[in-house]
């Protein structure tokens, strides 16, 4: 397989990592690696999740009650920790998405009209 050339990657906007994780998990339960992979793939490698940020974020979201985790069989024939969205998590996701759109809209307005 051809080696993918490393593209320029942008940093994930601060504060949006959790929203992206929540959205990713809305597809269904995943383990940490898969979450990072998914975000990377869907954003065409632009958004790369640092493991150093990912796992602490996952811990925090568990504390807040937005995710639960379970050890299940993975594709490597060993157990891995799968994260699942809770009902509170779904609510949080919606809230964060609307907030994000609001802010982005406001920023665009300023950029266009200021």
């Amino acid at each position: 397989m051809l080696r993918r050339k490393p593209r320029e990657k942008d940093e994930i906007l601060p504060g949006t990592l959790e929203m992206l994780i929540l959205k990713t998990l809305s597809r269904g339960p995943m383990h940490g690696y898969r979450i990072a992979q998914t975000i990377q793939q869907i954003s065409d490698d632009i958004l790369q999740v640092e493991e150093g940020s990912l796992y602490p974020a996952l811990q925090r979201m568990q504390i807040k009650g937005w995710l639960t985790s379970e050890w299940q069989m993975s594709e490597l024939n060993r157990k891995a920790r799968f994260y699942k969205l809770t009902r509170d998590g779904r609510q949080q996701l919606e809230a964060e998405i609307s907030k994000f759109h609001r802010i982005i809209g406001a920023i665009s307005q300023v950029l266009e009209n200021a």
Partner: protein
């Protein structure tokens, strides 16, 4: 985030602490899984397995950091910080235990004193009655101006300083009935009244005097007080003809009957009449009566005519003798209740007044105005006594607050001095990156730890010392109604005081200690303690503050001590040594008229026969109890002057040999003797003050005075003139007294129903006579109980108990404050010397002698103290001015002081002297240390 979510989050975090190991393992697993997946992706791209794993690791980033951050997400950061701070604090404390102990001890004494006084403040001013919903209760009374006329009032009266009106506590029975009829605003309305001359309660043939009150049928229900055994008085018991019943308090049940469960079945007699004790109220409940009146036993109003041998209170419609309280209906305000009842009460008052004026025409009151009804919150019960003592309590609280402030300043100084020694440690921590805020938090934690330790110890001290500084000393009464139990308010006060103390004394040293420049401080050559000028000047200013505050307290101590001294040296005008007092009230046993005179005579004769008794006599009240039977001036047709109608005199029935026994000289005329009896003309002996009041410096032996009372016109011949003696109060000049032979006053004594006091002069120790006296009285009539057995000196001491408390407290606190001042001075000067060791070494090397160095350090100390003394004297001047201006004289407490002015130079001089002595002592040791400095060692290193 709402509450449940927050709670769940905290719960999850707590679980983390329990499962720490598992968390670490799982995270480890998760990371290895992630690495494995990464490696697999690499291998799919064609990389060799070993390299793939390496590449994956590299790409992964800092594993340790990740683990740390993940763990951090879960922890309660601030709790862990505090725990670390506390561990550090304990370690530092263990390093210098003496230092910590000194601080904790001084704080314990200061905080303990505050807690003790606050307990009294709480008990007297803040506690509510231990009844159901005390805030729903309302207490009625009356108020009136100069045209208001109240014919007969048994209760408390006071002047309202704000409005100038007279306030009174008691209303009449007809008023009570009218209120019951008109009631629309209260769920319960009830009345109660103290039995002033107490009751003789005899159970199992043992008679004792108990305090008592009368209550209406709705009293217990209205208050919501339940019995612990038996039942309570109800409306059915308060009907004419009902069997007499009584309820006793738990405290009385414990003190007199030792919690005997069979008390309800024992046959009981009240004033000789059979009565059943039907119940005991729950522990903690006494009565809504004022703080100086307890009520061991409660009887229904219906029992009053039966047990009251003198004329019943019911008889006259104008007699105001009841306290009335009620419980508000939901949504009703106190003002609404007041307007509900006022018209009925005023109408009843007018009717009573008309009845009175019909029987006793008094021209001055042709147009009387009825009193107004007052209504105040009843949650604390009666308020007259509480209001009276409020001022004194606040002053005591201010005094102990001052001491606490002094202790704070002292500890702050000690901490500043010591922070010099820890300078290197703090500098190192700052250099290593500790935030200043973090360090301040650490130091504050140490301060709070010391303060809370001091507060805890102080609380325990206050608990033990409760009996020493009880309200018994401040409230001069034999039977108190004050609940001294420690409640949450006292605990909260102690905690708050401790925390405030910790912050006050901790903040300045903490700020100062952490504001250092780590570089120069860490240098090896840096002399320890060279934090720059600022901490030392702060410490010095604090010393000045401490000295100034201490002077204020010491001057106060001097003033109170001199007051007590002066009071103890008052010339009473009679001989108080070796005299034993006791009261009897044969009226409670049914003795009336001739029998009453006989029983007093019998007891007197029996007492005279006891070996060791020089002589015995009788008087209406003991001397210097503060009680008096006052009357308006009489007419003296033979006198050249008309006496001032605003004055009063005191009637004092005594036994014939009163003057001889009490060693009161007669200046003219004769003593009473056997020719003065019921059939002979009425005679009296008067004192000099009375002569000055009525007769204007004549020697009126053989002259007469007269007055009218409801029983007719009475004329008295003056047969003797006695030297003035202090009769009621130590502070007042001798008041006009008229002595009567009591056998001529039997009818009046019947009416008063209060009994009399026996004075027994012993040849030796009067207390040794007590058993013989008890036997003597019992042998005449075993049902007569004697009470208030004490020596005359003890009685007089009781009059001074408030002054004694103030004096002993301020002196004890003064000693504490002097010790603290000494410690503070020593600490700061020691620190000063240490800091300047090098400089001193240089001086000595250049030829300065030891004496010179010693003198210089001493001078520094004394200059500081002198500045403090100047400020202190000025402050105490201002403070005493403030207090005298704000003090409202109630009753006879016109002033806290006696015989000294607030700016007493002797007290100020003594205070200054003591403080200087301490300063010299405390300053000497550091000065000596400075003089001993070896210049070579000092210059080499420190």
């Amino acid at each position: 985030m709402n509450a449940t979510k927050k709670l769940r989050e905290i719960g999850r975090r707590l679980l983390f602490y329990l499962r720490k190991d598992r968390f670490d393992r799982e995270l480890e697993d998760e990371i290895s899984f992630h690495l494995q997946m990464k490696a697999r992706a690499q291998m799919r791209d064609g990389v060799a397995p070993a390299q793939a794993r390496l590449a994956a690791r590299r790409q992964f980033g800092n594993e340790t950091r990740l683990k740390e951050r993940s763990r951090e997400m879960w922890s309660f950061r601030w709790i862990e910080d505090i725990v670390k701070d506390l561990q550090y604090t304990v370690r530092m404390t263990r390093k210098s235990p003496v230092f910590a102990c000194v601080i904790i001890l001084s704080l314990a004494l200061a905080i303990g004193a505050n807690t003790a006084i606050f307990t009294i403040v709480d008990a007297v001013l803040l506690k509510t009655l231990p009844v159901k919903n005390p805030n729903e209760l309302v207490l009625f009374g009356w108020s009136g101006g100069s045209h208001t006329y109240v014919a007969d009032h048994s209760g408390d009266m006071a002047n309202d300083p704000n409005t100038g009106l007279t306030l009174g506590s008691s209303l009449s029975f007809p008023m009570f009935h009218r209120m019951l009829e008109q009631n629309q605003t209260l769920t319960d309305l009830f009345a109660f009244a103290p039995i002033y001359n107490n009751v003789n309660l005899s159970v199992d043939s043992r008679a004792e005097i108990a305090t008592g009150q009368l209550v209406s049928g709705g009293y217990y229900k209205g208050l919501g007080v339940s019995p612990i055994i038996g039942r309570i008085i109800t409306d059915d018991d308060d009907k004419t003809g009902a069997d007499p019943v009584a309820v006793i308090t738990y405290r009385y049940w414990k003190e007199r009957f030792a919690l005997d469960p069979a008390i309800l079945e024992r046959p009981a007699f009240i004033n000789g009449l059979p009565c059943t004790i039907i119940g005991v109220t729950k522990p903690g409940f006494e009565s809504p009566l004022d703080i100086y009146r307890s009520a061991d036993i409660s009887l229904p109003f219906a029992a009053e005519p039966i047990i009251n041998y003198r004329s019943s209170e019911y008889a006259e419609t104008w007699n105001q003798w009841l306290r009335i309280m009620g419980r508000l209906k939901p949504g009703i305000t106190i003002e609404q209740a007041r307007t509900n009842f006022e018209p009925a009460v005023q109408q009843s008052a007018m009717e009573g007044l008309r009845d009175y004026l019909a029987k006793h025409p008094t021209p001055e009151y042709a147009d009387p105005v009825p009193p107004n009804l007052t209504a105040i919150p009843g949650s604390q019960g009666e308020m007259f006594g509480r209001r009276e003592y409020a001022q004194q309590l606040y002053i005591l609280l201010t005094i102990v607050g001052l001491v606490l402030l002094i202790a704070c300043v002292n500890v702050a100084n000690l901490l500043i001095a010591r922070s010099g020694a820890r300078q290197k440690e703090i500098a190192a921590r700052i250099a290593l990156g500790a935030g200043r805020f973090r360090l301040i938090r650490q130091l504050l934690t140490e301060s709070l730890f010391l303060a809370l330790a001091g507060g805890g110890a102080g609380f325990i001290l206050a608990y033990w010392a409760r009996s020493l500084i009880g309200p018994a000393s401040i409230i001069q009464s034999e039977h108190q109604n004050v609940d001294m139990s420690l409640d949450f308010r006292v605990l909260a006060f102690t905690a708050a005081a401790s925390i405030a103390t910790g912050i006050i004394f901790g903040i300045a040293p903490a700020l100062k200690a952490t504001s250092i420049n780590p570089g120069p401080a860490l240098k090896e050559s840096a002399p320890s303690g060279s934090l720059g000028r600022s901490p030392l000047s702060l410490a010095k200013s604090l010393i000045v503050v401490q000295v100034a505050l201490s002077i204020v307290l010491l001057v106060a101590a001097g003033l109170f001590l001199r007051t007590l001294w002066n009071l103890q040296r008052v010339d009473y005008g009679f001989d108080a040594k070796n005299v034993l007092l006791f009261d009897v009230n044969p009226s409670l046993n049914g003795y009336k008229g001739d029998r009453l005179g006989d029983i007093y005579r019998q007891i007197s004769e029996r007492l005279d026969g006891i070996p060791g008794v020089k002589s015995s006599t009788v008087s209406l009240y003991p001397m210097l109890k503060g009680w008096g039977w006052g009357q308006g001036v009489p007419r003296a047709p033979e006198a050249k002057k008309v006496a001032d109608p605003n004055e009063q005199y005191f009637s004092f029935p005594v036994r014939n040999n009163f003057f001889e026994t009490m060693h009161i000289p007669l200046l003219a005329g004769r003593e009473f003797d056997d020719r003065d009896n019921l059939n002979s003309p009425k005679v009296a002996i008067v004192n000099q003050a009375f002569v000055r009041l009525v007769f204007d410096n004549d020697v009126p032996v053989g002259q007469h005075f007269e007055f009218d009372n409801p029983r007719g016109r009475l004329v008295f011949e003056v047969v003797g003139i006695a030297k003035d003696s202090i009769y009621r109060h130590l502070r007042k000049a001798p008041q006009p007294i008229v002595y009567y032979p009591f056998q001529q006053q039997i009818k009046e004594l019947d009416r008063l129903g209060e009994g009399m006091t026996f004075e027994v002069r012993a040849s030796g120790d009067p207390s040794a006579l007590v058993p013989a006296i008890r036997d003597a009285v019992r042998s005449i009539d075993s049902k007569i109980a004697i009470l208030n057995v004490k020596t005359q000196t003890q009685q007089i001491d009781e009059m001074m108990s408030r002054e004694r408390i103030f004096a002993s407290m301020t002196v004890a606190l003064g000693i504490l404050v002097l010790i603290l001042a000494g410690l503070g001075l020593y600490g700061v000067m020691q620190y000063n010397v240490t800091r300047r060791t090098r400089e001193i070494g240089i001086r000595m090397a250049l030829g300065a002698g030891t004496t010179k160095v010693l003198g210089q350090v001493m001078r520094e100390t004394l200059v500081l103290v002198a500045i403090g003394i100047v400020f202190g004297v000025a402050a105490s001047y201002a403070a005493t001015r403030l207090v005298s201006a704000a003090w409202i004289g109630i009753n006879d407490q016109d002033s806290l002081l006696f015989g000294v002015t607030p700016h007493d130079p002797l007290s100020m001089a003594l205070a200054t002297l003591f403080l200087l002595a301490v300063a010299v002592l405390a300053g000497y040791l550091p000065a000596r240390k400075a003089a001993r400095v070896d210049p070579i060692t000092a210059l080499r290193y420190d």
